[in-house]
Symmetry: C2
């Protein structure tokens, strides 16, 4: 197993988590040491168990505030000493104190940020009439989808697209982008200078490709 | 010559205008009937004269308001009866009354809108740390770069990019996109339904390409 340890926070179905299990954890590139969900019924927890990865359901207490809840989340995470935390469909905004106390946290979002932040990004893109959208892996800061970009991949919106069909295609992009970024972290290939982030695996990039994680 | 008539408003260098002269006007796909500039020294006017296209310098009068100025612009335009008006580096916001009185007006912007509207879009993209940007051809409405999207094309931001190098690469994309859209208008291949606009030339699109004007 790799010495590089990452944890995943997930709220839902966990398809991004599954990609990380299959392409990163099972291949020994990095060790998935914990999956934590705020939602006891999250399929993500089941996916973790099936992969023999520790899975913790930690639902918020009644009337528990965001800060207090994330103090509890932080304690559970600290116990497994992750080098990286991945938000994979985690539906809660993280308090600044939590972000400051943790190792790097990354998120994947189904648009080319700063376009279409927040909920229902594929529907936002359709309603705008965008011809191109994509996905973004970014460092998490205290804003909503405002952190420095690590990787973006582009995709055409097709005339017949619905929010669902577009989201499905974006999911595949998200999986690839997220796997690539976690691998790069594990290999020490992520260079962060303010908002400029390079994955050093391919800084000689290919101008013809717009699937650029450079 | 084509019966489809278009006019161009330009403020500056006119490289987008040149693409339209070379690829649309000279090929007889549509007739460029007027180039109008608010800037007497605009190279765009010289490019028009060299192509034997009527070129009008119409600088605003001292203290002339936006609405009053564009009434004069509108009169000049009305005299040549254009079917389409193209903003090619035109640096003034158009008043709603002008837009309402004119045939369709299109603009090209060096970003994937709604990301990076307004001035200095390539620099905005660099400062954000975007990995992918592009260009957008859109219908002009009363907002700043908010109109319905007709065509978008994507481009990777490279690690060594400066605002200038990025803008240069975006210029080539802009030329191709603008030529394509004006041709589509001339051929009656633009289908507008609210914010959803299709260029019917290739609605069978290619999922592998992100240079999508679909």
């Amino acid at each position: 197993m790799s010495k590089f340890r990452f944890a995943v926070l997930a709220s839902g179905e966990g398809s991004n988590l599954q990609a990380l299990i299959d392409e990163v954890h099972r291949r020994g590139v990095a060790s998935l040491v914990l999956v934590l969900s705020d939602n006891e019924g999250a399929m993500a927890l089941e996916r973790a168990r099936l992969a023999s990865v520790p899975a913790v359901a930690l639902p918020p207490l009644p009337r528990e505030g965001r800060k207090s809840y994330h103090q509890r989340v932080g304690k559970v995470l600290a116990a497994v000493e992750p080098d990286l935390i991945v938000l994979a469909g985690y539906m809660r905004l993280l308090p600044p104190e939590f972000i400051a106390a943790m190792p790097p946290i990354i998120n994947v979002h189904p648009s080319l940020l700063p376009a279409f932040p927040g909920l229902h990004a594929p529907l936002q893109a359709l309603d705008y009439g965008a011809k191109i959208t994509g996905c973004t892996v970014h460092l998490v800061d205290k804003g909503m989808d405002t952190g420095p970009v690590i990787c973006q991949e582009a995709l055409p919106v097709l005339p017949a697209d619905t929010a669902d069909s577009l989201h499905q295609r974006l999911k595949s992009l998200e999986h690839a982008a997220l796997v690539r970024v976690v691998k790069a972290f594990a290999l020490g290939k992520v260079k962060i200078i303010g908002r400029k982030i390079e994955l050093e695996e391919d800084t000689d990039g290919n101008q013809d490709s717009v699937n650029q994680c450079i």
